[in-house]
């Protein structure tokens, strides 16, 4: 009797084991550019008429990371803001300024990116000649009117990060 039960159990287990199937995982590595928003920026308000992402002004630099899988196939364009996405009603002029800089790289071959960057208007262009990740930090400052205090409220402005295939 015990032998029969044991044999049945073995057959049962065998049946269970035989149901196992291999599950394939497929993937494809192709030329690709991904834009990561690693750090959200924050405006500090060091003086009544100024907003700034500079840490010494109480701000936080927004940081954008570009990850490219192929060398020399993409151009990164990062633009500092030149208008508010949302703000209280402003009645005087607003002066925008900014600067985009490489803050970190995943490859020593990217060390020349900063020197080779091209700037026009509020846009900074980088030729991504090396595969890997590059981090860009964006400085943004806003000055309001002439000796006028910014109205109280929530202010937000957007950095534009573009990755364009060559």
């Amino acid at each position: 009797m015990f032998r029969i039960i044991t044999a049945a159990a073995i057959i049962g287990l065998g049946a269970v084991v035989s149901q196992a199937e291999s599950v394939p995982i497929t993937g494809n590595v192709s030329s690709k550019c991904s834009i990561y928003t690693d750090v959200s920026g924050v405006y500090g308000n060091p003086t009544p008429d100024t907003l700034s992402t500079i840490p010494s002004d109480g701000g936080v630099y927004p940081v954008v990371r570009y990850a490219v899988t192929s060398a020399d196939e993409f151009i990164a364009k990062v633009s500092w803001p030149n208008s508010f996405a949302s703000a209280p009603s402003l009645t005087d002029s607003v002066v925008w300024d900014g600067e985009v800089t490489v803050s970190n790289t995943s490859d020593a071959g990217m060390s020349g990116y900063e020197a080779a960057k091209v700037e026009y208007e509020n846009v900074t262009e980088y030729d991504l000649t090396v595969a890997g990740s590059t981090w860009f930090q964006v400085e943004s400052t806003v000055e309001y009117g002439f000796g006028k205090a910014l109205p109280g409220g929530q202010y937000s402005a957007n950095v534009v990060a573009e990755c364009i295939a060559k």
Binding site: S31, K32, S34, S40, V160, A161
Partner: protein
């Protein structure tokens, strides 16, 4: 201690990171089931928690818009979702198309989200 701090920093960075992908980088148009109309299929992958809408645009080499058709020009892609997007174009326009782009769209109520508009352009 240094390893622990590095691990915490790496974890925080990995948690905070979010991205937008638009592939293939070099799409090719092929004839569609309609005469005189070409088609290509693009894929969008949304790893941005703060964004769920992306706008598709088709542009020439001077960044002027080129007319195209798609099921949606404003795509609703939820976090960690991947979607295929078919882009239909007149065959006469195939030679002048240079870029197919997606741009993240921030909802007005989320204007304080991450403060980054991302745009990725594939080159035809």
């Amino acid at each position: 201690m240094k390893t622990f701090i590095a691990a915490v920093v790496a974890l925080l960075t990995a948690t905070a990171a979010s991205s937008h992908e638009w592939t293939p980088s070099y799409p090719q148009f092929k004839p569609s089931f309609m005469e005189g109309i070409a088609v290509t299929t693009m894929t969008i992958f949304n790893r941005r928690k703060d964004i769920s809408y992306y706008e598709v645009s088709v542009l020439d080499e001077d960044w002027n818009p080129v007319p195209f058709a798609s099921t949606r020009k404003l795509i609703n892609v939820e976090y960690l979702e991947r979607q295929n997007v078919e882009i239909y174009l007149r065959e006469v326009d195939c030679d002048r198309v240079e870029y197919i782009c997606t741009t993240s769209k921030i909802l007005e109520r989320d204007a304080t989200s991450s403060g980054v508009d991302s745009r990725i352009c594939s080159r035809v």
